[in-house]
Amino acid sequence: MKKFDGGAEATLYETTFEGKPALAKKRAPKNYRHPQLDERLRSRRTRQEAKILRAAKPEANVPELYGETKYELIESRVDGVLLRKRLEKKGGATECCEAGRQLGLLHGAGIVHGDYSTSNVLVGRKVTVIDFGLGSFSNELEKRAEDILLFKKSLQAREDELFPSFAEGYATAMDKKEAQGVLERANVIISRARYAQR
């Protein structure tokens, strides 16, 4: 199989499923981890990601799940560039706004991503959210706020410029007051960090 892309956690290979272009997402063993811990994390995360993809599909733009084994998922191939790459060029406010809206839709469906960064948002014909390995089912304010914060940090030097668009998009996907609550909690988490500016 041809390697499609490699992230920190898994490697994607090109494949087909019933004639349709698909990707095989493999969680390869990590030699640095204790084998038991490694096995536990890889199988738990693969199972969790499958569950979340199924639940998220009707609510937001995510890849379609075709099949799963213990350490591997087969999912629809979504073409596009990572938002991180897109932001290396000027502009990108529209894409960030849509990334915010997609996160709002996921949160509204009771799903938190767990690693919502510009490396996990694909920009193609649509803006698609990928990589749910650290995701969970939760409506907790704290977990939602953590998603917001991870995204904010991943904007790196363009945080001040682009975060407002993201927040705006987020608020369009759910109740205004509810969205405001999450954004406020994100600020509380920042102030809780060690040696934060208070």
Binding site: G7, A8, E9, K30, N31, Y32, R33, H34, Q36, L37, R40, L41, R84, G114, D115, Y116, S117, T118, S119, L134, E146, L150, K153, S154, Q156, A157, I189, R192, A193, R194, Y195, A196, Q197, R198
Partner: protein, 338 residues
């Protein structure tokens, strides 16, 4: 022109005094030389740190360390060109001792006082000692656990914190685990020794908390408190989980930032198991691992002096010389880009 800089470190358990000489404008192994690097460490106990006693300890040892540093360097105090000290972050009481010492030396000798950010000093001294260039830095000590890299914003450079602990530092977590399990010594070293005693290699199932690029250790600590498993087995699992969490977060930052080098600094950087795990991860990504040598891993005066030299040589400016317990790394701008 040759410059002589005195460095004073006193943010936490260590009081350190060092003399560094500098020729030319850039900081490097050839041009920047550590002439002496003396320190005294407040011993660990079951009670942890008592800030007032910590300050007493530092005040008691400072004069002797200064004398030793001057003697070893073979210089006279009047030859000193600038005094660099740790401005923060750290424990208020002990920061004050270093500040008072530095301020009085600066006034007595009529030389400039250079406030150094302790976190940045770990990174800069690490780069100086290992020759790393623009690395992704993993700073691991008792009170700190941060994944950092230099970034250009506007016309200046600043460090960005990519990932960090959301509760305690990794060293603090290991110290607490050592105390809970009543190991000897009751700290991170005790955990390391107990883990070595455990030969079964069967891993107790403990929480593993990675939030994207951030970490949390409190769940792990509570689980250790509740567990009835063998103490050596728990020490082993505590280390395995905590280090794997850190490597995973760093790996994610590495893929996000595309840096070509990873540098380990701080007191915990010396742990052989941690280095082994990082080496394995870096290998997989075709990245070079640089680990700070023992002499500059824990808190020390030389790292403060080396950073002071770099600030002076680059013309970096500062607003205040007052100590600051909550000083962060990401607020300050620099004129260097390596």
């Amino acid at each position: 022109m040759k410059k002589l800089v005195l460095g004073i470190e006193s943010t936490a358990h260590t009081i350190g005094v060092a003399l560094v000489s500098q020729t030319g404008k850039t900081v490097s192994q050839e041009k920047t030389r550590v002439l002496s690097n003396e320190l005294a460490k407040y011993p660990s106990s079951k009670a942890g740190f008592i800030p007032r006693k910590l300050a007493d300890h530092h005040a008691e040892h400072y004069a002797t360390l200064l004398k030793q540093a001057l003697e070893k360097a073979g210089v006279d105090a009047r030859e000193i060109d600038a005094i660099a000290f740790s401005q923060g972050p750290g424990i208020g009481h002990s920061l004050r001792v270093g500040y008072m010492a530095a301020k009085s030396a600066a006034q007595l000798l009529d030389k400039p006082l250079v406030p150094v950010n302790h976190t940045i000093a770990h990174v800069e001294a690490g780069k100086w000692a290992t020759g790393a260039i623009d690395p992704l830095t993993v700073y691991v000590s008792g009170g700190n656990t941060q994944i950092l890299a230099l970034e250009k914003s506007g016309g200046a450079y600043r460090y960005r914190v990519y990932g960090e602990t959301l509760d305690v530092g990794i060293g603090n977590f290991l110290d607490n685990a050592g105390r809970l399990l009543e190991l000897d010594p009751p700290d991170a070293v005790g955990v390391m020794l107990a883990a070595k005693q455990y030969h079964e290699k069967e891993l107790v199932d403990l929480p593993y908390t990675v939030k994207g690029v951030d970490l949390a250790f409190s769940g792990l600590l509570s689980a250790i408190k509740r567990s009835t498993a063998d103490h050596n087995a728990l020490a082993y699992a505590a280390q395995e989980n905590a280090y794997a969490m850190l490597v995973e977060a760093a790996e994610r930052c590495l893929c996000h930032t595309n840096k070509k080098q990873v540098m380990l600094v701080g007191g915990v950087a010396q742990n052989p198991r941690l280095q082994e795990m990082f080496a394995s991860m870096c290998d997989e990504h075709g990245t070079t691992l640089k680990a700070v040598p023992t002499a500059y891993a824990g808190d020390n005066g030389a790292m403060i002096a080396v950073t002071g030299v770099k600030m002076l040589a680059s013309g970096t400016e500062w607003k205040s010389t007052e100590p600051n317990q909550g000083l962060r790394i990401d607020g300050q701008e620099f004129k260097w880009n390596d």
